[in-house]
Amino acid sequence: MTAEQKKIRLLMVDDNVKFLETVSKRLGLKDFDVTAADDGKKAIKAAGKGEFDIALVDLRMPSLDGTEVLKVLKKKHKFLEVVVLTGHATINSAVECTKLGAFDYLEKPYEFDQLLDVLKRAYQNRLRRKFERDEKRLRDLEVLSMGSSPMAILKSLMNLDDGEK
């Protein structure tokens, strides 16, 4: 991959700093552009500053729990896919995370290739959702462009633009 080619932007949050650094580095070698945060608050702050494709979120963390991070990220970043990675896996928490919009739920320890596969599928899902949205927008645009006054079209176009980066 050349420097000009796009990398998958990944936000990773885990309070186990050694684990965080090691996985970040491994994913970096696999051409992910990784931003690491060692607590939930830092992750939310980082997500507000940058644009990410995927977030990899630990569940049990001091100060702000992973499910809270998941809720905030999904609420504020419509197309961000969140993968939960935890050593505290239970059926209840897996169900809760899925209901909150997590793309997938991985239990530690895991195979690195399994993580790569989940991240790949998460990224594909993000693109699919964006393209679906864009197709719908194109259809809406075509409908709007017929028969209305220029100002009405302009107002409707503004409604179509949700202002997302």
Partner: protein
């Protein structure tokens, strides 16, 4: 002598919780070891393609990380072993400092744990005759409640001292709003089974668990 049936059930629940907490810690250790070994493999594979890319210092640091994590894993397994053996005898002579060490170690496995400072005991390490498993359960509940009240950035001081009415484990540094651990029916069962007294000094921010020197005598 055996515990009251309800209290035995509480002890079993405690062992289940403790095992879950410890297994989560072991999973974290294994995940870090696995990823660090994987990273060494990735770096070696890169160096095979381009030997100039090998960074011996980095490989050394990664090797040290694996050793440190395995040592951490050993400590967690030792903790599990001590907890598991605490149920060997319903009533036994126990070193209270040792019980506090085991329970503090378990508490440190919790993501939301606060800092724990052990206060040095004056004189001999107090030993009492009690139900070890249930004592661990009661202490763990007190520590867990303290962590939740103090938060991960705070600190709790834990001291053991012998007093006129028994041996006291004191948790210091609790915030003004701390409500104690009195509301749980399980705590009441444990208190009765251990003939313990629990007192909260709200002004000083201290929770005291006072235990009799001999459970046999206290129950007589």
């Amino acid at each position: 002598m055996s515990a009251a049936p309800g209290a035995e059930g509480e002890g079993l629940v405690f062992l289940g919780k403790a095992t879950a907490v410890i297994s989560h810690s072991i999973k974290n250790v294994m995940a870090t070891v696995s990823e660090t070994a994987g990273l060494i493999g990735d770096l070696v594979a890169l160096a095979e393609r381009d030997p100039r890319r090998i960074d011996l210092k980095e490989l050394g640091v990664l090797g040290e990380t694996i050793v440190e994590e395995i040592q951490r894993g050993f400590q967690v397994v030792q903790l599990l072993n001590k907890l598991a053996h605490s149920g060997d005898q319903p009533v036994a002579d126990v070193d209270v400092e040792e019980v506090v060490t085991v329970v503090s170690g378990l508490g440190r496995c919790l993501a939301y744990c606060s800092g724990i400072t052990r206060l040095p005991s004056a004189g001999e390490r107090p030993r009492i005759r009690t139900q070890p498993l249930l004592l661990q359960d009661l202490l763990y509940r007190a520590l867990d409640a303290a962590f939740r009240a103090v938060g991960p950035d705070g600190e709790i001081k834990v001291g053991v001292e012998r007093g006129a009415d028994g041996v006291c484990v004191a948790l210091q540094g609790l915030p003004a709003g701390f409500r104690g651990i009195f509301e749980s029916p399980g705590v009441e069962l444990l208190k009765q089974a251990l003939c313990a007294r629990i007192a909260l000094d709200k002004d000083a921010g201290v929770l005291r668990l006072v235990l009799p020197e001999s459970l046999d005598e206290a129950r007589a």
